[in-house]
Symmetry: C3
Subunit: 189 residues, 3 copies
């Protein structure tokens, strides 16, 4: 697959997963956008999918560069990419469905499913490293967004410095998949 096609796939997957997942969070009342006058795609302020796509591209590129130092435990190919992206979206939507559950339940369930996704996709230290970067950077950026007043997690889902306590686990799953995305898209099967 050409570099151009690979980037187009990653941008497309990042956009679809972030828009569909964010629509679940807005529809369930988990999150709310609080700035007026920002263009909206589906239920998201336009900057949200753009930030996610930039993050996914950066992680996929990092994973490609570090692949020899952090080899994959399972070689994934093109046929595995759609199911893996769908698994991340399913976990994203599940966090919306868990709105109203106790923090203990939602954090442990989200974390456990995130580890299952990492394990089915590529149970390697490298993919866990990609997940850890995302689990750190993603919530930090969202904490800054909430602090800036652009969006908010609603009461009961804001226990981690204004964002949801299960957010690092969700980002871990997304980051683990993103870290091997570039290489998986190069392999036919």
């Amino acid at each position: 697959m050409s570099t151009r096609a690979t980037v187009a796939w990653i941008v497309g997957l990042g956009a679809v997963v972030s828009l569909a997942g964010d629509a679940c969070h807005v529809a369930s009342g988990t999150t709310r956008y609080t700035w007026d006058g920002v263009p909206v795609i589906w239920k998201s302020a336009i900057w949200f999918p753009m930030l996610v796509v930039a993050g996914v591209l950066a992680l996929a590129d990092t994973g490609r560069r570090l692949a020899t130092r952090f080899p994959a435990a399972r070689m994934r190919g093109r046929a595995d990419v759609l199911p893996a992206a769908a698994a991340v979206l399913a976990l994203y939507a599940l966090t919306a469905a868990l709105h109203g559950q106790s923090t203990t339940v939602s954090v442990i369930l989200t974390a456990a499913v995130a580890i299952v996704i990492w394990g089915l996709w590529d149970p390697s230290p490298g993919a866990a490293f990609g997940g850890a970067i995302a689990a750190l950077a993603g919530p930090l950026v969202e904490i800054a967004i909430v602090a800036a007043g652009a969006a908010e997690y609603t009461h009961g889902s804001d226990g981690l410095a204004g964002v949801a306590p299960w957010l690092p686990a969700l980002y871990f799953a997304a980051g683990a998949v993103a870290f091997r995305l570039w290489d998986a898209l190069q392999r036919p099967a």
Copy 2:
């Protein structure tokens, strides 16, 4: 496995999954049977499992005939059949547990899990084609059943011409599995 035994397995799996899944929909108040005087098995009017079994048999036979033109991406064997049927039933029961969630959340979560099931079972265009046939035919038949007054989806789960908006996604998962069922039952491992 003989043709007779294969058909018996497919009929059995279709009957168990449809009866157990439908029991979840009735128990959760997602659906309701509205004709009196029809024999009931567990919580279903007798014609419901019969329709599902006929559909699964037709799809499994179609998949067998088209297997050379639409080859499988992953060769599945007998040991994979029970877990695959259980995955479809789990999604079926999940749609019942999601009763009361917003349509956005239930549709996106059901669709994402359906793609995961397709991807773990056989991420091939052929299995997706089988899923697409089911995603079209199943809801159309159910829309006709609702229009005829034999059953109904309750308020809030009836947004797709009287049936649930997540119904095509559930049928997609079932159809993708059914499409490779015959061949999987022929392979020992």
Copy 3:
């Protein structure tokens, strides 16, 4: 891996899964400890993780001894152990999230996911045998604990002689994984 390290891994996994899962049950109001004066770890009376760890060790040892008579359908290695334990924990937490759903829905969903976990981990009769032992022994022990007045399942989750009707299915998944745990920890990949 040395015997000492294997035992340490099994004890650690059993302790983490039982404590985190039990915390979900207590947080969701599914269960309640009713004896005062017993030391508590996280949200559990100290005897609960100890019983679970003893059970997991016994099953892992049984699986190791019976491995030649009941061979695995899929050879699992060290990289599969964390995701498998996480899958059991995810199902454990899911049963907490299903608190309040009808018994039909929670039993069928838990049972279907349990079969999926067995099927992804090792769809062999041996692993099913390990699961069946756990599905029988675990609930019997918990029924005795409830009868002794040390803990209780709350109203609506106590339909199986005082314990939850989905409890055998949850134990089945845990037992199927535990039965192959020893051997999986010996295999590098």
